[in-house]
C-alpha cells in the first residue's frame, strides 16, 4: 500500500510535483504512453484515492497503540536521526533502546531520545550488534521511564499479511505487506560449489565449463567436461535448477554429486564452500538497478548484508528506521532496519531480535574501531539546515506545530544537560 502512505504524509509535495510535472512532462509522457497517472484523474477521483488511503490508516491505528508506547524518536541537536524501540535485554538490568547503528554511529554520545509520552532523555551507547546494524543505547538513570515492547508467541505471518510501522504519536506511520519471508542477505550464507555451468540446455544434466581452482568442486575431483546428473536424490534438468539447489544449502554441508565422465557414471562426495562473490548469471544490470532503486525512494545508506530480514513493500524514509512494526493484532513483528529500494523495506524479525537480546552485544569501543559501516557523517546531515529539516520531518506526522516547538525545547534542555555532563568528565 504505497500510494496511501505518500498521499497521507506528503500530499502537498506530491500534488506540487504533479502540477509542475504537467507543464514540462506532459507532452513527453503522452508519447511515452506513461502519463503521470495522477495527472489524468479528476479531482473527485483524487479525493477518492486520498480518502481510501486515510481509511486504511484510520482502521489500523488502534493496532499500533501498544507498540507505539515503545517507540522513541532519536535527535541529534535539532535533527531527528531515526527511531528506536525500547526492549529488555539479559545484558542490562534496565530497559534499553535498540536503533539503527549506522545512523547514530558518529554521534552516539549526543543522542537525545524523546519517548512516546514526550520525555526527553539523554542517552549513551552501551552495545552494538554490528552484523545486524543495531545499536543498544541506554538512558542512564531514567530508564524506568521507558516502556519495553512485548514479544508475542504468535505464529509467523503469511506472505501478504498487513504490517504497520508504529509511530511515536500512537499512529500508523506506514502500511505494507509481507513481501518475502525472513532470509539472510549475506552471500556468505549461501553454499558454493565452485564450477561454471553451461546454461545452454543439453539433452540431460548440466555440463561443467570450468572448475574454480581450490574450490569445493576441485577438491572433490570434478573436472571440466563432466556432466552433473543429480545432486543427492534430485535429478537436474538444467543449470538454473542446480544453482538454486546449491544456493539453498548451507555452506559446509555435504552433498553427493552424480555425474557422467565420458561413458562412465560416477559419484563423489562434496563438502560445500561459501559463495564469496556474485554468481555469474547476473540478472538485471547493476547500473540500471541503481537508478531504479532510487525512483520514488531514498534508500538507507546501509541496506544490505543483513543476516536475517523480512522484506516488505512498506514505504519508509531512512529516518523511520528503528521503529517497531506490528501486525493487525498489534503483535510485535520486528524492527524496521532499512529502506532497501523503490520496492522494499527490510525488517529484522521479532524472533531474531529476541535471540540477539538473549546474548550480550559487542562492547561499543570495539565496534567503533572495528566496524566499517561507512555511514554518512551526521555532521554532514546537520549541515542541511537542521531546523528546517526537523520541521519538515515533524510536519510529516500529525503533531501540531506547537508540539514540534515543545520537542525542540526539550531537546535543547537535554542537550544542555549532556554538555554539562561532558564538562564534568575528567
Amino acid at each position: 500500500m504505497n500510494q496511501p502512505n505518500i498521499i497521507k504524509k506528503v500530499q502537498p509535495i506530491l500534488l506540487i510535483f504533479a502540477w509542475v510535472g504537467m507543464s514540462f512532462q506532459a507532452i513527453a509522457q503522452y508519447e511515452l504512453r506513461m502519463p503521470d497517472p495522477l495527472a489524468g484523474l479528476s479531482r473527485k477521483e483524487k479525493k477518492e484515492l486520498k480518502n481510501q488511503a486515510s481509511s486504511f490508516y484510520n482502521a489500523s491505528n488502534s493496532s499500533v497503540a501498544q507498540a507505539a508506547e515503545s517507540t522513541v524518536t532519536l535527535y541529534y541537536q535539532d535533527s531527528k536521526i531515526c527511531y528506536g524501540t525500547v526492549v529488555t535485554s539479559v545484558a542490562f538490568s534496565q530497559p534499553v533502546i535498540l536503533t539503527k547503528w549506522s545512523e547514530i554511529k558518529n554521534i552516539c554520545d549526543h543522542i537525545v531520545a524523546i519517548t512516546s509520552d514526550g520525555q526527553a532523555l539523554a542517552t549513551t551507547l552501551v552495545g552494538v550488534y554490528p552484523d545486524h546494524d543495531l545499536a543498544v543505547i541506554s538512558s542512564d538513570n531514567r530508564a524506568n521511564q521507558l516502556k519495553p515492547i512485548k514479544f508475542s508467541s504468535a505464529a509467523p505471518l503469511s506472505l501478504g499479511s498487513f504490517i504497520l510501522l508504529a509511530g511515536p504519536d500512537g499512529d500508523v506511520e506506514s502500511i505494507g505487506i509481507v513481501s518475502v519471508q525472513a532470509r539472510s542477505l549475506r552471500d556468505g550464507d549461501k553454499a558454493y560449489l565452485g564450477v561454471m555451468m553451461d546454461f545452454d540446455k543439453g539433452a540431460q544434466g548440466v555440463p561443467l565449463k570450468k572448475i574454480m581452482p581450490g574450490s569445493a568442486a576441485a577438491k572433490a575431483g570434478l573436472r571440466e567436461g563432466d556432466i552433473i546428473l543429480a545432486v543427492d536424490q534430485d535429478d537436474l534438468s538444467g543449470a538454473m535448477e542446480m544453482r538454486t539447489l546449491l544456493q539453498r544449502l548451507q555452506p559446509g554441508s555435504n552433498i553427493v554429486v552424480t555425474y557422467q565422465r565420458g561413458k562412465q557414471r560416477k559419484k563423489t562426495n562434496v563438502e560445500l564452500g561459501s559463495l564469496s562473490e556474485n554468481s555469474t548469471i547476473r540478472r538485471v544490470p547493476q547500473e540500471r538497478m541503481n537508478t531504479m532503486e532510487r525512483m520514488g525512494a531514498v534508500p538507507s545508506n546501509i541496506r544490505t548484508n543483513f543476516p536475517s530480514v523480512m522484506q516488505s513493500d512498506m514505504p519508509i524514509h531512512p529516518r523511520d528506521a528503528g521503529a517497531p512494526v506490528t501486525d493487525l493484532d498489534g503483535e510485535f513483528t520486528g524492527i524496521a532496519i532499512a529502506r532497501g529500494s523503490r520496492i522494499k523495506t527490510y525488517i529484522i524479525p521479532a524472533r531474531t531480535i529476541q535471540m540477539l537480546l538473549s546474548e550480550k552485544p559487542q562492547v561499543p569501543n570495539m565496534a567503533l574501531t572495528k566496524s566499517n559501516t561507512g555511514s554518512k557523517s551526521p555532521l554532514q546531515l546537520s549541515a542541511e539546515k537542521p531546523l528546517d529539516q526537523v520541521r519538515r520531518l515533524l510536519g510529516k506526522s500529525r503533531s501540531p506545530q506547537d508540539k514540534n516547538q515543545e520537542n525542540i525545547l526539550k531537546i535543547q534542555k537535554a542537550l544542555e544537560k549532556l554538555r554539562l555532563r561532558d564538562k564534568n568528565k575528567p
Binding site: 506513461m34 502519463p35 489524468g40 544490470p285 523503490r342
Partner: protein, 327 residues
C-alpha cells in the same frame, strides 16, 4: 459508448474502504489467500543467448505463459524457472509490442499433474481504487527468496490498454502478473515512472483481445522506447516498423541520428534481409538484431520503390537512441 455509460453511472462508493480492523483483516485474508494460490505460477524467464530476462505467469496446465513483449524481444527460446527452483524450456509464441504483451509455451514434457499455473479467470474491468496484488522476480531470479509480493490499488487507465497502480515495480518484474483480490489476472507488468504511483501494466482486456493472435505466433506493434524496465544496452537500429509486406518489414519512421538514419535508411523502405537472413516477420528481425552487439556492423537489404539497395549499418545502444530525445 455503452462502456463509457456504465463507467460513469457506476457509483464511486465502490472504492473499497476498510472501516475497522475486522474489515482490514478480511482484506488481508483475501490477499494472503491469493498469494498462496498464484505464487507457484509466477515464473522467471531468461535467455541464455542474449541475456534478456524478466518474469511471467503460467496460465494453463499445459504451460502457456503470459509475459511482456519487451521480455521476449529477440528470443525464440527462453529458460523458465519456477519459484521452487524447477526449470524448463519455453518457446516464444507471439507478441504485441504496442501493448507490451507476449506468450511463451513450455516445451518440456508436462509433469503428471501439469505445470503449476493460475487461471486468467473472468476478467472484470478494474477501476480507480480497486485493490490489486503484484508479483514478479524483482531484480532477477533469486534462489533464496520467493518472488516479492506487493499490494496496492489501481490509480488510472492509460492509452493502449495500459493501467497504472501503486504496486511498486523494478527491473526484473517485467512480464510478471497483477491480480485482483479474487486471484484473477488483471495485468502484466510493463514499465515504471519516477513516482511510486507510476507502475504500468498491460491490462488483461488487451491480452484477451489479442489472445488468439498471440497464441498463433503473430508478432506486431511497436515498443515504447521509454520503459525503465527495459534494457538500454540492447542493440538497435533505431526505427519504428510498420506492417510486414510480402517483401519484408516496412519502416514507418527512422529516428534522427540513429544507426538507421546514419546508414541512409528512410521511412517507406522495406527491410527484406538483415545479416544475410530474410526477414519475413518482425520476430525474425528482432532475433537477428539481438544476436549482435551495439557497435557490430550488419548488412541490410532494402526494397525502396522498385529498387533494391544494400546498406551497412553500425548497431547502436537502445539507451543512446533514447537520450537523443527520440521518443
Amino acid at each position: 459508448m455503452t462502456v463509457v455509460a456504465v463507467m460513469i453511472s457506476e457509483p464511486l462508493g465502490a472504492v473499497p474502504r476498510p472501516q475497522d480492523i475486522s474489515q482490514l483483516k478480511s482484506l488481508e485474508q483475501k490477499v494472503t489467500g491469493v498469494v498462496q494460490k498464484v505464487l507457484p505460477a509466477t515464473i522467471s524467464l531468461f535467455s541464455t543467448k542474449n541475456g534478456a530476462s524478466g518474469s511471467g505467469v503460467v496460465v494453463s496446465k499445459d504451460g502457456l505463459i503470459l509475459t511482456a513483449g519487451h521480455v521476449v524481444r529477440g528470443s525464440d527460446e527462453m529458460t523458465v524457472i519456477f519459484p521452487n527452483g524447477k526449470q524448463a524450456q519455453g518457446k516464444v509464441l507471439g507478441a504485441n509490442y504496442t501493448r507490451d504483451i507476449a506468450m511463451v509455451q513450455i516445451t518440456d514434457p508436462k509433469p503428471t499433474f501439469g505445470w503449476p499455473h493460475t487461471s486468467v479467470g473472468k476478467a472484470h474491468k478494474i477501476t480507480t481504487g480497486d485493490l490489486v496484488i503484484a508479483l514478479g522476480h524483482a531484480g532477477g531470479y533469486d534462489p533464496v527468496r520467493t518472488p516479492p509480493v506487493r499490494f496496492g490499488r489501481m490509480i488510472a487507465r492509460g492509452l493502449d490498454q495500459f493501467i497504472s497502480t501503486d504496486c511498486t515495480l523494478i527491473g526484473g518484474d517485467s512480464g510478471g502478473p497483477l491480480f485482483d483480490l479474487r486471484g484473477n489476472i488483471v495485468g502484466i507488468h510493463s514499465s515504471i515512472g519516477e513516482l511510486l504511483s507510476s507502475n504500468n501494466h498491460a491490462s488483461i482486456e488487451g491480452i484477451l483481445e489479442d489472445w488468439d493472435k498471440l497464441k498463433k505466433g503473430d508478432t506486431w506493434g511497436t515498443l515504447g522506447e521509454n520503459s525503465m524496465l527495459d534494457n538500454p544496452d540492447a542493440p538497435v537500429i533505431g526505427i519504428i516498423t510498420g506492417m510486414p509486406t510480402d517483401k519484408g518489414i516496412s519502416i514507418r519512421r527512422v529516428f534522427e541520428g540513429s544507426p538507421a538514419g546514419e546508414g541512409g535508411l528512410r521511412a517507406g523502405d522495406v527491410i527484406s534481409e538483415i545479416a544475410n537472413k530474410p526477414t519475413p516477420d518482425l520476430r525474425t528481425l528482432h532475433i537477428v538484431i539481438a544476436q549482435h552487439r551495439p557497435g557490430d556492423i550488419v548488412k541490410i537489404r532494402l526494397a525502396r520503390g522498385n529498387d533494391f539497395l544494400t546498406r551497412n549499418i553500425t548497431l547502436g545502444r537502445r539507451g543512446d537512441i533514447l537520450r537523443k530525445g527520440n521518443r
